[in-house]
Every structure is written in C-alpha cells, then in structure tokens.
Point group: C2
Chain length 84, copies 2
C-alpha cells in the first residue's frame, strides 16, 4: 500500500438556496429534459497522502475539510478515503 | 424503481494547468500536511430523472454533459447513474 486518495465533497447545506444548482437545472430542463429535478452542484477536491493509518488519514482529512475547504455556515462536506 | 440519480463529475483535463487545485494544494500543505500532492478540483453536478431504461438515461445524461456541463477544450467529464 503506497498511500491514500482523499476525496472531499463540499455541497450547499440542504434547505439553503443554491442559485448555481437552480440555474443548471433550468438549463437542463430547457435542453430537453423537463423532468430533471433536485439538481445540486458541489465541489469535489481530491488529493493524495502517503502512508499512515486509515484512521489517522481520515482524521487529518476531516480537519482539512473543516479548516479550509468548506464554509460551515452555508456548506457541508463528506469524506471518502481510498487506500491506493 | 422510481427513477435515477445522475452524477456528472467535471474535471480539468490532465496536463492542463489547474490554478484552483494548485492554490488549494499549497493551502493544505501550509495547514500542516506538506506531503499532500496531486490535488485536483472538480465540480460534481447531480440531478434526478424519473423512469426510462438505464441505457436511455445514460445516453441523455451524456448528451447533457457534452452540451451543457463540461467545456471540452479544457475539461473532461465522467458519469455515474444510480437506480433509485
């Protein structure tokens, strides 16, 4: 095992207005899929980290997500850590 | 089965400069993970579509990705379709 691939998905909090998602939904509908719904737009940040335990990598990635990647007032994030 | 969840991941083409990814990588490194590397930033658009066959939904989602969501000069996209 040579490290981990960390994926952090940052999404608007449910219930908050998501103007980018709404604009994209309208465009999808106008492009011929009028039945598209519940469109949301998130940002997926991925990076690689060398060794360490899975537990430790998850903890560090979680800390990075909180400190740097998501704005907790309007966004939430979820983590995925994959051993390489 | 009551429809499909479509996820479209739009990423910068490999080999192209990704200034947002570079800026985030520097910030992650300065936040105490100097070993972070291969950082990339993509956009994940998800929406729901009612019925139809999986084949048909994939084809329509692929068309939407090409027409609307990805700029083929600088980006590539990948699809995931999940039955609900």
């Amino acid at each position: 095992m040579s490290g981990y691939l960390v994926k952090v998905l940052v999404e608007p909090r449910p219930g908050l207005l998501d103007p980018e998602g709404q604009a994209i939904e309208r465009a999808i509908q106008e492009l011929g899929l009028p039945e598209a719904h519940e469109t949301s737009v998130g940002k997926l940040i991925s990076f690689k980290l060398p060794g360490g335990s899975l537990e430790e990598v998850r903890e560090r990635a979680n800390w990075i997500g909180q400190k740097l990647l998501a704005n907790p007032v309007i966004e939430r994030f979820s983590l995925e850590v994959e051993a390489l």
